[in-house]
């Protein structure tokens, strides 16, 4: 049994018949072929799968693809301009060495973008609280905090 869904991802229209039990993260990765969002825990506790759905950062491992029917989704692949110009948050992560293995990074960048969108001049404490749903095992977070702060200052 499948259901038809149609949605927009990174400005592009997608239509598929999917099983109702298919997780959104698997839809994005395996059906739409966008493997930038990662699966780190499948229990909504690590944030590696974070994408933006109708303007809100969400954990795509805890949502079914059918629930995203009609939604407008932005993934990490959709942040840079088509010409390849990086989003200021991507640029800040690069400049501040806010990643090591890079596995948590797409989710971190998506949530960081949201932190600054909600609060254009966050304190370090606010940044840390905003990052708390996302785990990074490599960086100890300090450079991520630096990246979000500098991106906010630059008006990301």
């Amino acid at each position: 049994m499948t259901r038809a869904i149609s949605l927009t991802i990174n400005g592009k229209h997608y239509e598929h018949d999917v099983e109702p039990r298919l997780l959104l993260i698997h839809y994005l990765r395996e059906v739409a072929g966008l493997t930038g969002s990662h699966m780190g825990c499948e229990t909504s506790l690590c944030g590696a799968c974070t994408v933006e759905l109708d303007g809100k950062a969400i954990k795509s491992c805890t949502m079914f693809a059918v629930q995203a029917n009609g939604a407008n989704i932005v993934t990490i692949e959709g942040l840079a301009s088509p010409e390849g110009k990086l989003h200021p948050m991507q640029e800040a992560f690069w400049n501040e060495h806010a990643l090591q293995c890079g596995f948590c990074t797409p989710g971190m960048i998506m949530v960081s973008k949201q932190i600054v969108e909600r609060n254009p001049s966050p304190t370090d404490t606010e940044i840390r609280e905003g990052l708390d749903g996302n785990i990074c095992r490599c960086t100890g977070y300090q450079h991520i905090v630096n990246a979000v702060r500098t991106a906010a200052k630059a008006g990301a």
């Binding site: 099983e19 039990r21 298919l22 698997h26 990765r29 395996e30 966008l34 493997t35 930038g36 969002s37 990662h38 699966m39 780190g40 825990c41 499948e42 229990t43 506790l45 690590c46 590696a48 993934t75 990490i76 692949e77 942040l79 840079a80 990086l86 991507q90 992560f93 690069w94 400049n95 060495h97 990643l99 090591q100 293995c101 890079g102 596995f103 948590c104 990074t105 797409p106 960048i109 370090d124 404490t125 940044i127 840390r128 609280e129 990052l131 708390d132 996302n134 785990i135 990074c136 095992r137 490599c138 960086t139 100890g140 977070y141 300090q142 450079h143 991520i144 905090v145």
Partner: protein, 775 residues
């Protein structure tokens, strides 16, 4: 002995952002899970829910009948595949046969029993649910001290005492040390089981090509070449027909310094079904079946004079090995023993290590691997001794440090510390944090009844593994520099970086040496079909062993470039600098790029010189490198809640010369987070039946952004004499230094209450109970 590079003023030493990042920040990197091959099937593994049980039967019929299921295998189906390899050896070591699927018995929760292969991962999971295993549950034992007790259940029935080995190490004259002692302090100290939790779980894609009799295996590993050798042996395939690729690897921390059952299993399955097969570990599986770290119960006794002079250290170390040996399991506690003396001058040690089987997943190398446990032990003992003698913890450390004029310093455990100035590092940390003033603030806080603590740890580390005779695999590393005809440079390193940043730091080194732009350099790694044999990434060895291999390969290239330069400039008087050969007489120049072209076009060749411009070097260090440092943490404990607040964290690390200080800081920060995780939050807890009670991120407290303090990083620089770059290695330093600084800080805070020692993790509950006298 090699001399130290002096041209450090160029790109080396600069804070340069990483070359590897563009693909990672745009979501276009390829991790194992991102790999899709035509006809690829998916595997899901059926695992034991019991810590110890006999398998009475496995019924796969329902699973096999499920549409989409291609095959189901149980232990009985696995023929012609070798067991999981343990590369460590110790005298009298008992090695249980570690089949890739359980045969008649399961030994820990998560033990693989069967595997379901299907066209789709959801169907494979459905199939796994339909496999019926009939277990006869037996009594498990998960606590290593209980496992050693009389009458404990035997993990492996053939060895009822549960002892895998007893390893002794003695140095100096312990009897005399204890006879001369004016004070002896004893303490039982544990280093709890930790779950490494790389954010990318493990994963394998295996692709057997029948016509070639060859296997390609994409796997999330730190050691692609060693994995190839081992897997070729296990699967009975010629080594040169096995290609192992470590694509983008999402963290390892030692947990991927291993060759696991699933890697051989996927190779076996792909060959059986004639299709590529993918297995991606779930987070739950990662908790249950990927190696854990630490797992010590240590009994320490330290002997000293009343003036604080340490005379000797005794240790009985009970290592929780788990049910099996993974690649290096039994070797890890022996590293603890080697580092027992820490940075101190005493010459008498006596250690007994009892490797103990339990019905838990094996322990093995986790960031620091044996050295954090040792450092935590000695640093706690030094603090306990200082408290006993009513001495300042900084003063007792200065008094006992190995002094700068004592290097190379032979330790009682047979190591030879390479270089250091331990006092300078501690002094810098004390000055940075304002130690004397802090002690005054603390005195005032105590008068107010506030629990403020200042914790010092001065750690030493043995890393940059290492000379080959001292390591279970080779201790060398390889590098190839391939200058292309256009003058672009491709570097192959035998290390397998997965976040450490050698695509950048090695490019910095090569750019300086060859005088080319970093943009013209590509660093490749992790594919055994492309890269000459290498040992891999662990033990803080990428820069300290892989770096020198690259440095010497670059010197060979420079020699050859100069020969071509002389020929083209028709002069003997030629220097190669800043990317060109210059005739010292005429001033005429020829660029590196022109020379590269000439070397391949080969219209004319210098005497005794072959065409082409490629050099490969295998380099072996003469000794380990020994980074060190001083970490100080100021904390305050809330009497009402037991909550710990970290007020300040100062880290002064000496890792020798630095190729890229930005990346060095990243390593220190990440290491500190893992070390604080051990001190305060993380604990892999098994119940008596073998269930991992903290087997999800919901229950296992990973450090998160708001839990971490700001880490104030700085350095002293004592170049290592054991390699030409003067580097020491930084991958593990933060993890090793942070844990005892944190625990010492909290114990210092609790000292007015007469609380002497608490075991990690220092959860609010534990601290609150201690404060309220209930611990």
């Amino acid at each position: 002995m090699a001399t130290t590079v002096t041209n450090i003023e160029k790109l080396v030493g600069k804070r340069i952002r990483r070359k590897e990042d563009p693909r990672l920040i745009t979501g276009t990197a390829t991790y194992v899970e991102d790999i899709k091959l035509p006809g690829m099937h998916h595997a899901v593994i059926v695992r034991s829910p019991h810590g110890a049980a006999n398998i009475k039967g496995v019924d796969i019929s329902k699973a096999a009948a499920l549409p989409g299921v291609a095959a189901v295998f149980t232990g009985a189906d696995i023929t012609g595949v070798g067991s999981v390899v343990c590369g460590a050896d110790l005298p009298g070591l008992r090695k249980p046969v570690h089949h890739i699927l359980a045969q008649s018995r399961v030994y820990y929760v998560g033990h693989p029993v069967a595997v379901v292969v299907a066209t789709d991962r959801y169907i494979a999971a459905d199939g796994a649910d339909l496999v019926e295993v009939d277990y006869e549950v037996t009594q498990a034992v998960t606590d290593p001290e209980k496992a050693l007790a009389e009458g404990a259940p035997a993990v492996h029935p053939e060895w009822p005492d549960n002892k895998a080995f007893v390893f002794l190490q003695k140095g100096g004259d312990m009897e005399k040390a204890f006879a001369d002692a004016e004070v002896v302090v004893k303490q039982r100290i544990t280093s709890q089981r930790l779950v490494p939790n790389a954010m990318e779980t493990r994963g394998v894609v295996a692709d057997w090509l029948q016509a070639e009799h060859s296997l390609t295996l994409f796997t999330s590993t730190q050691i692609p070449h060693l994995a190839r050798t081992i897997l070729a042996g296990q699967l009975g395939i010629d080594e040169n027909r096995v290609r192992v690729v470590a694509p983008e690897v999402g963290g390892g921390f030692g947990s991927k310094l291993n060759v696991y059952a699933e890697e051989a299993l996927m190779g076996f399955i792909s060959r059986k079904i004639g299709k590529p097969v993918k297995w991606i570990e779930s987070r739950r599986e990662n908790f249950l079946v990927t190696i854990h770290g630490r797992g010590h119960v240590d009994y320490f006794e330290i002997a000293a004079k009343r003036d604080g002079t340490i005379l000797g250290l005794k240790l009985k170390l009970i290592q929780d090995l788990g049910a099996y040996h993974q690649l290096l399991t039994p070797a890890i506690p022996t590293l603890s023993v080697l580092m027992m003396p820490g940075l101190y001058n005493f010459r008498n040690i006596d250690a007994e290590v009892i490797g103990t089987f339990t019905n838990c997943v094996p322990t093995d190398a986790y960031r620091g691997a044996g050295r954090p446990e040792a450092t935590h032990g000695i640093e706690r003992m030094v603090d306990l001794l200082a408290a006993e003698l009513n001495m300042d913890p900084a003063v007792i450390r200065f008094k006992n440090f190995v002094q700068p004029d004592q290097f190379p310093f032979p330790t009682a455990t047979g190591l030879n510390y390479d270089s250091g100035d331990y006092g300078a590092t501690l002094q810098k940390a004390l000055d940075t944090i304002g130690y004397d003033d802090l002690r005054k603030q603390q005195a005032a806080a105590r008068l107010e009844g506030r629990l403020m603590g200042i914790g010092i740890s001065t750690y030493g580390e043995l890393c940059a593994f290492g000379p080959s005779p001292a390591t279970p695999a080779g201790g060398w590393e390889s590098a190839t520099v391939r200058v292309e005809p256009s003058g672009k440079v491709t570097i192959h390193t035998g290390t397998s970086p997965h976040g450490q940043g050698q695509e950048t730091s090695f490019a910095q080194l090569a750019a300086d040496e060859l005088g080319v732009s970093m943009d013209d350099i590509v660093v490749l790694h992790g594919d055994t079909s492309v890269i000459p044999y290498g040992i891999g990434t662990f033990g803080s060895r990428n820069t300290a062993v892989g770096g020198p291999a690259l440095f010497y390969a670059l010197q060979d290239i420079k020699e050859k470039v100069k020969k071509f330069g002389k020929m083209l400039l028709k002069s003997e008087n030629v220097v190669f600098e800043n990317g060109k050969c210059t005739c010292q007489v005429s001033g005429k120049e020829v660029t590196f790029q022109t020379i590269a072209g000439a070397a391949y076009r080969a219209m004319q060749l210098p005497p005794d010189t072959d065409p082409g411009l490629v050099a490969t070097k295998f380099w072996e260090p003469s000794n380990f490198a020994f980074p060190f440092g001083a970490h100080i943490i100021v904390s305050e404990v809330d009497r009402e809640t037991g909550q710990i607040e970290i007020k300040r964290y100062v880290a002064v690390d000496d890792i020798g010369n630095q190729l890229n200080p930005l990346l060095v800081e990243g390593q220190v920060h990440g290491g500190a987070a893992q070390g604080l995780g051990q001190a305060l939050w993380e604990h892999g807890i098994y119940d008596d039946n073998g269930q991992l009670m903290t087997g999800e991120f919901m229950d296992y407290a990973m450090p998160r952004a708001s839990m971490m303090p700001w880490v104030e990083c700085s350095h002293t620089t004592t170049p290592s004499p054991v390699n030409p770059l003067g580097v020491k290695g930084v991958g593990e330093a933060g993890t090793i230094g942070s844990t005892p600084a944190m625990v010492n800080s909290v114990m210092d805070a609790l000292m007015p209450l007469g609380i002497r020692h608490l075991d990690m993790p220092l959860t609010p509950e534990k601290v609150w109970k201690a404060i309220n006298g209930a611990a």
